[in-house]
């Protein structure tokens, strides 16, 4: 559960999750926890804003500073893939989030190289060397290569 909180904090930081998504997720987790009900889920469900949800989770982590380094980059990429399916007009900002994964999370060398290549396609698009359709094709192949099945506890429905 604690690991899920870190993913939510990361998504809030990157502005790719909404208050409603987190509330729905907390409600779903509350219903699925039949024996013990973590108080933090009730707090999240009843929070009135995204900032409040962020503070609740930050305090729950009980640390001075957040550390995202052990999150699985493939789960985040898969989440971004779902986000992209709904908001493909945000292709540049999605590539930007993928690019900055390496700043916060440990990524393998092959993935890192593919991130640089994808970012370079984005630069060539911004320089009018390739079209938006071509860029989207590269984004599609990237997601095809790195998307995995997201565990149920990390499913934040849009």
């Amino acid at each position: 559960m604690e690991n899920s909180f870190l993913y939510i904090l990361y998504y809030i930081e990157k502005k790719i999750i909404t208050y409603e998504q987190i509330s729905l997720w907390a409600d779903r987790m509350l219903f699925s926890n039949k024996e013990t009900i973590p108080f933090v889920l009730i707090q999240l469900s009843e929070a009135k804003s995204l900032d409040e949800q962020f503070i609740i989770l930050f305090d729950e982590m009980n640390c001075e500073q957040l550390n995202f380094s052990n999150l699985n980059p493939l789960y985040i990429i898969s989440y971004l893939n779902c986000y992209y399916q709904l908001q493909n007009e945000k292709v540049i900002s999605i590539i930007n989030i993928i690019f900055h994964l390496k700043d916060d999370i440990n990524v393998e060398k092959i993935l890192l190289q593919d991130i640089y290549i994808l970012d370079d396609y984005c630069d060539t698009f911004l320089s009018n060397v390739i079209s938006i359709e071509e860029l989207k094709k590269h984004v599609h192949f990237f997601f095809l290569k790195y998307s995995v099945k997201i565990p149920d506890v990390l499913q934040f429905f849009f």
Binding site: D51, E52, I55, L66, D104, I117, D119, D120, D123, L126
Partner: protein, 101 residues
């Protein structure tokens, strides 16, 4: 034979951020220009930068963000990274095309 050369295309392109907007970015750009970064790609295919190599410089720092809860501010330390990309000509050592990512 065309071997790639800086033409100012980056600084005139609205899609690229080339100017620092705060002190942290100003420091990062100076560090990148004086210390140099890590090579991330060699022999670019983009005709503008043909045969140049792409480098990256990263600067991590703690940023204090304010979150509001019930009208009360709460300041949290959150780590941020500023990344700069630029090109270097392996033959001459010339660097150019600095941009914030």
């Amino acid at each position: 034979m065309w071997d790639g050369k800086w033409t100012g295309k980056i600084s005139k392109n609205n899609g690229f951020k080339t100017e620092p907007e705060n002190l942290q970015e100003q420091l990062t750009l100076s560090e990148a220009q004086s210390n140099g970064g890590t090579k991330i790609m060699g022999k670019m295919s983009d005709p503008l930068w043909k045969n140049w190599e792409k480098f990256e410089y990263n600067h991590k720092f703690l940023n204090y963000e304010v979150k509001m809860v019930n009208g009360m501010p709460r300041v949290l330390p959150l780590e941020h990274t500023i990344s700069i990309h630029y090109f270097s000509n392996p033959k001459t050592g010339e660097t150019s095309g600095y941009k914030f990512k």
